[in-house]
């Protein structure tokens, strides 16, 4: 069977969906709710393409090609549809990609990560970061007005984390920059899309106060799944700075321990359902419409397999560490 993609004839292989044909023939189509070899249902519409004959916008991830189809994957119209669907998803996504403290640091120090090492007792790594970022690590943050402490989300709960005191404590320790690329200490790229968490509700504040047990008191609001997050990737590619739609999201801010080192943060979920369709009596939908959420009943936690973290297109399900 042959179809036209962006006016170029391409051959369709047995059983391929549109997205598979397009990607195999070098047409880049972004997608979130689709995963090869996994059960999925079209939902996100980030893989939208246009069927030129009917003029309809269709999801390429589940549509099977038919003879003589003419598909457009790159026109302005298609791109705008994808951008809009990303904007809509982002308006219901309560998360910080990078922690606000790291974003405001004049020295570009990834503050949240250093606090992570501190809380884990990995002082050597923390000191390494300091030596990599500051030419005089001994006096690292002493002269700074500490915008990090002003931006700290913990500040809206009770008191901000005393970041400078902790840095001072670290800088007194011995250590050197290892030159390890992985531990360079900067926020990698500030040009990536930055999702912002917004305000905590009073209930969440109480919950956070009661459940945060880190030494530094840091909430670690930076997303642990940001490296693999395709929502962030595609939003960056689409040039989105901020969703034009005001968020009225009520997703709860919480970190739920699944099993082993797997964690689930419902506030980051885009309801694509990959984890629901690909777990047996594990994750499930609850409610419908805008209020529809993905939940994991306590009794089902044991049924969750590790590969779900890779399947999840956002940082909602991830492996700790």
């Amino acid at each position: 069977m042959q179809i036209l993609i962006n006016n170029h004839p391409v051959e369709v292989l047995e059983g391929e969906t549109l997205i598979e044909v397009a990607r195999r023939t070098g047409n880049n189509i972004p997608s979130l709710c689709y995963a090869k070899e996994a059960k999925h249902k079209s939902s996100c519409m980030v893989c939208a393409v246009k069927d030129c004959k009917s003029g309809q916008i269709i999801p390429s991830c589940t549509t099977l090609p038919v003879e003589g189809m003419q598909i457009d994957t790159e026109s302005e119209e298609v791109r705008l549809t994808r951008t809009l669907s990303l904007e809509l998803l982002l308006s219901d996504h309560r998360a910080d990609c990078e922690a606000p403290c790291s974003m405001v640091c004049p020295n570009r120090l990834d503050v949240e990560r250093i606090l992570g090492y501190y809380d884990a007792g990995q002082y050597r790594e923390a000191v390494e970061m300091l030596s990599a970022v500051f030419s005089l690590p001994e006096i690292a943050c002493d002269t700074c007005k500490a915008p990090c402490e002003k931006a700290c989300r913990r500040g809206s709960v009770d008191q901000p984390v005393s970041i400078r005191t902790i840095i001072r404590e670290l800088s007194a320790m011995d250590g050197k920059a290892s030159g390890d690329e992985k531990n360079i200490g900067y926020v990698k790229d500030k040009n990536l899309y930055q999702s912002r968490l917004g305000r905590f509700t009073d209930k969440e504040k109480e919950h956070l106060k009661a459940t945060t047990v880190t030494t530094s008191r840091c909430l670690h609001c930076a997303c642990s799944g940001r490296e693999k997050c395709r929502l962030r990737l595609h939003s960056t590619e689409a040039g989105i700075k901020r969703s034009r739609y005001e968020s009225s999201s009520t997703l709860p801010i919480e970190k739920i321990h699944i099993n082993g080192d797997l964690l689930f943060e419902p506030a980051k979920c885009i309801r694509c359902g990959l984890c629901v369709y690909n777990s047996d009596n594990g994750f499930t939908f609850m409610g419908r419409g805008f209020k529809m959420g993905v939940v994991l009943p306590e009794e089902n936690k044991a049924n969750i397999k590790k590969n779900l973290a890779e399947l999840c297109p956002t940082g909602a399900i991830y492996k700790q560490g």
Binding site: K41, S42, S43, C44, M45, V46, A48, Q56, I57, P59, T62, T63, L64, T81, L84, S85, L88, L89, S91, D92, R244, Y245, E246, S248, I270, R271, G273, V276, S279, N281, G282, F283, T284, F285, M286, G287, R288, G289, F290, K291, M292, V295, P297, E299, N300
Partner: protein, 803 residues
């Protein structure tokens, strides 16, 4: 189940687990049994108790993930127990424009229900909003348990509750029944849901007692809906000479007199006694109330004649005289002739006839029915399904309910013919659980059909067999979409799925499935019996036949009408509906419910036709027709429909789940007066994209109410941005004030539920706008017309009397 076990159940001493087990034994343990199973459990316990659910996990294939997913998707299921009696406040379109939300608030206040709860502290009453009870002509409507109350105004809430409690006590006293020997005449009485709501059940009882008392042996015959819902209860007296006398709006107290007027009692003595008593009765009644009997005939029924004039009856053939569940009568009037004719005709020929008739699906989309049949018939498979889609979910539409209730045999006949033509061996009636009467009648009708060999094996002595069952929908608008409907029968959430493959090729249980709407099936018998030519003569070039509409809203005579395609909207409103209620000016007609649009008054001379309506940005939809007057705010109407679709969206796809929510946010902003002109543009862009990029019918049509109002009433949106709602509908932009006409009678102060009007006798009253909840009770209460609704920013020109 043995008799012993049955006794045990009625014993009521069983434990929760035993009761659960008995339900499971009765329904089944498969994954696809989940919806009927939960429905039965809820019927048993009034909610879904935790222990019962745990028992399901133990005993059936249903697991935790499936149960949570399904039970939270359908609005029927409850996880917390409600009060003993459930008050359902209808928030359908017709009820909404007549102030349903104020009625809901009034119930909450009257019953002293605490914030965040829906149940009274003594657990006697619970209050909930419901999408539509399908009694739109009686708006605002409230249902308490099985009893429906029409025209409930916020100030009448206490009376409704009192009446209900009184009725409850009466019920417990029991009823007596007597049989009569022979009949002197016949009285027909409409027994549709609307009629019941207006008190037909009471009339029926009164007819029984009165005829026994008077010794008049009459045949009381409950018939289907006549459609004149605004004039019910309505009875027809069939005189000895065959003429019919019609009495609209009868009251129970008038029955005795009407009977006496028309029939002579059997015995001489009784006759004498009655003539004296009757005379006294008449004298008495004549003075005390406006007596129907003595009104001239034309005054009594003239209005009904004009209502019924201009209509054409195909789906509702036999209205007013066919008893819904009398199969012999249906047969006597030519019923099942079409089926018998079909069974001796080659299948291809039937499909060709339906194709030639030009019949298009009445569910909304307007897909040619014959074409659909052709596709299903062409798929080779030993087993196929036919599903009758009776999941009518539009707020403001009740045609399907009426047809299932009043003409069950016609719909069944249509299904039998369809099944025969496409080669199906299984039929399913999918009916909303909110329509208990329709479910009951179809079940009864199917039983009768089986007895008469008109369903089941070897129908009408042919070798065609069809097993028909009934599936009750659990409350999800999206299940009107055929793929979602199929998913729900399979025991899943009602997620529509990507087509192709179409259900015609791969539907229920992956078998070829034909899904037709109730109304579509009800037109089949006519087409087969009278031929496609005859059918084609009715309607326009591309839309053939008739369409049933539920006419409601601000209309003088609402009701259920069947009109030929091509009739103009003005004809419907003026000639059939008698114009806008209260002589107000027509502003727009909302057609097609949440999927349709608003057609402005100056375009109402356009014909009712699938394509003409689509061109105007609306759509035929399933047939709700809500008339809007100059007192209605179009932004509010758009917001109302969007809040409905937003709530009913299944939640699978981004554009529908988040998109409709963001549109609603923007509309909320407009209605609160905080929006800017940019917000209107943002709204329009989003609406266009949701329409274009949604995957199923729900999302694709959800923006229609917004887009049409933006197209035809953009100035109203712009006024709202400036902080003015000229109709005084949007609560954030209005306040109530008391004028100098006030005489200080304190009635408003007493009526105010939130004490916003200080009790100051003989002084001009004042309203504390901080406390005021804008319920409008003071306006209703004031006899001096001195409470006025005004704009916070600008004076509102339109009259403010609560409407």
């Amino acid at each position: 189940m043995t008799k012993e076990e049955q006794d045990k159940i009625s014993n009521n001493t069983l434990s929760q687990t035993e009761r659960t087990d008995s339900v499971i034994d009765r329904i089944g343990t498969g994954r696809s049994d989940i919806i009927p199973l939960l429905q039965e459990l809820q019927a048993e316990f009034n909610y879904l108790p935790h222990e019962a659910i745990e028992r399901i996990y133990e005993r059936t294939e249903i697991d935790r993930a499936q149960l949570i997913s399904v039970s939270t998707f359908y609005s029927q299921f409850r996880h917390i127990p409600l009060g003993k009696h459930l008050i359902k406040v209808c928030t359908g379109t017709a009820c909404h424009v007549k102030g349903a939300s104020n009625v809901y608030d009034a119930f909450i206040r009257q019953l002293n229900i605490e914030e965040g709860s829906v149940t009274t502290t003594d657990r006697m009453f619970s209050v909930e909003k419901i999408a539509c009870l399908g009694c739109c002509t009686l708006a605002p409507v409230v249902q308490i348990d099985e009893k429906i109350y029409g025209h409930v105004m916020p100030g009448k809430v206490d009376e409704v509750i009192a009446d209900f409690i009184e009725n409850q006590t009466k019920k417990e006293n029991g009823e007596s029944q007597k049989t009569r020997r022979h009949t002197a005449g016949e009285v027909r009485l409409g027994m549709g849901s609307c009629c019941m709501a207006s008190g037909s059940a009471d009339i029926y009882k009164e007819l029984q007692t009165a005829s026994t008392q008077l010794g008049i042996e009459i045949n009381i015959k409950p018939v289907g809906c006549v459609g004149v819902c605004n004039k019910v209860p309505l009875i027809d007296i069939i005189n000895a000479n065959g003429t019919i006398d019609r009495y609209p709006n009868v009251k129970a107290a008038e029955i005795k007199e009407i009977l006496h007027h028309h029939f002579k009692p059997a015995g001489y003595l009784k006759r004498l006694k009655n003539s004296i008593l009757g005379h006294i009765d008449t004298l008495h009644t004549d003075i005390t109330w406006d007596n129907v009997v003595w009104k001239p005939e034309h005054e009594r029924t003239g209005l009904i004649s004009s209502f019924l004039h201009n209509q054409k009856h195909i789906s509702t053939e036999g209205f007013g005289f066919l008893a819904p569940l009398n199969i012999d009568e249906y047969i006597a009037y030519g019923g099942f002739e079409a089926l018998k004719k079909a069974l001796t005709t080659p299948k291809e020929e039937i499909i060709a006839t339906v194709l030639a008739s030009g019949l298009r699906g009445r569910g909304g989309g307007g897909f040619p029915t014959g074409k659909k049949w052709e596709i299903v018939a062409s798929v080779q498979n030993k087993h196929k399904y036919v599903i009758c889609n009776g999941d009518e979910g539009d707020p403001g539409a009740f045609m399907d309910r009426m047809m299932l209730e009043s003409y069950p045999f016609r719909v069944i006949e249509g299904m039998l013919i369809a099944a025969y033509a496409v080669g199906a061996d299984k039929g399913i009636f999918y009916i909303r659980a909110e329509y208990p009467l329709a479910v009951e009648r179809i079940k009864k009708a199917l039983e009768l059909c089986r007895e008469h060999k008109l369903a089941g094996a070897n129908i009408a002595e042919s070798n065609f067999s069809l097993e028909i069952s009934v599936f009750e929908g659990a409350g999800a608008f999206v299940c009107g979409e055929e793929t979602a409907l199929i998913a729900s029968i399979e025991g899943d959430r009602g997620f529509p799925r990507q087509r192709p493959p179409y259900p015609a090729a791969c539907g229920l249980n992956e078998l070829p499935t034909l899904v037709n709407n109730v109304e579509t099936l009800s037109q089949i018998a006519y087409i087969v019996k009278h031929g496609s030519e005859n059918y084609r003569n009715v309607g326009t070039e591309k839309s053939k036949g008739t369409k049933v509409f539920a006419l409601a809203g601000k209309i003088s005579h609402g009701g259920l009408i069947e009109v030929p395609m091509g009739i103009t909207l003005n004809q419907i409103i003026e000639d059939i509906g008698g114009g806008v209620e209260g002589g107000k000016k027509l502003k727009a007609v909302q057609i097609g419910g949440p999927s349709g649009g608003c057609i402005p008054a100056d375009l109402c001379d356009s014909p009712v036709d699938f394509d003409a309506l689509t061109q105007l940005g609306a759509m035929m939809g399933s047939g709700g027709l809500v008339v809007l007057s100059e007192n209605d705010c179009m932004v509010d109407v758009a917001r109302y429909f969007l809040s409905f679709t937003c709530d009913q969206s299944c939640g699978k796809c981004t554009f529908c789940r988040v998109g409709t929510r963001r549109m609603l946010d923007l509309l909320d902003k407009v209605c609160s007066g905080k929006a800017t002109m940019t917000d209107i543009d943002l709204l329009e862009e989003l609406a266009l994209n949701v329409k274009r990029s949604s995957l199923c019918g729900l999302g694709k049509t959800a923006p229609n109410p917004v887009l049409t109002t933006l197209k035809y009433f953009r100035h109203e949106y712009e006024e709202h941005v400036k902080g003015v709602c000229k109709t005084g509908t949007c609560k954030d932009m209005i306040k109530y004030v008391i004028t100098q006409d006030c005489i200080g009678c304190t009635r408003c102060a007493k009526a105010c539920p939130v004490n916003a009007i200080p009790y100051t006798p003989y002084e001009i009253h004042t309203i504390d706008t901080e406390k005021c909840v804008l319920c409008g009770l003071c306006v209703e209460e004031c006899s001096y017309d001195s409470v006025k609704k005004t704009g916070k920013k600008e004076n509102i020109t339109s009259p403010c009397k609560y409407s």
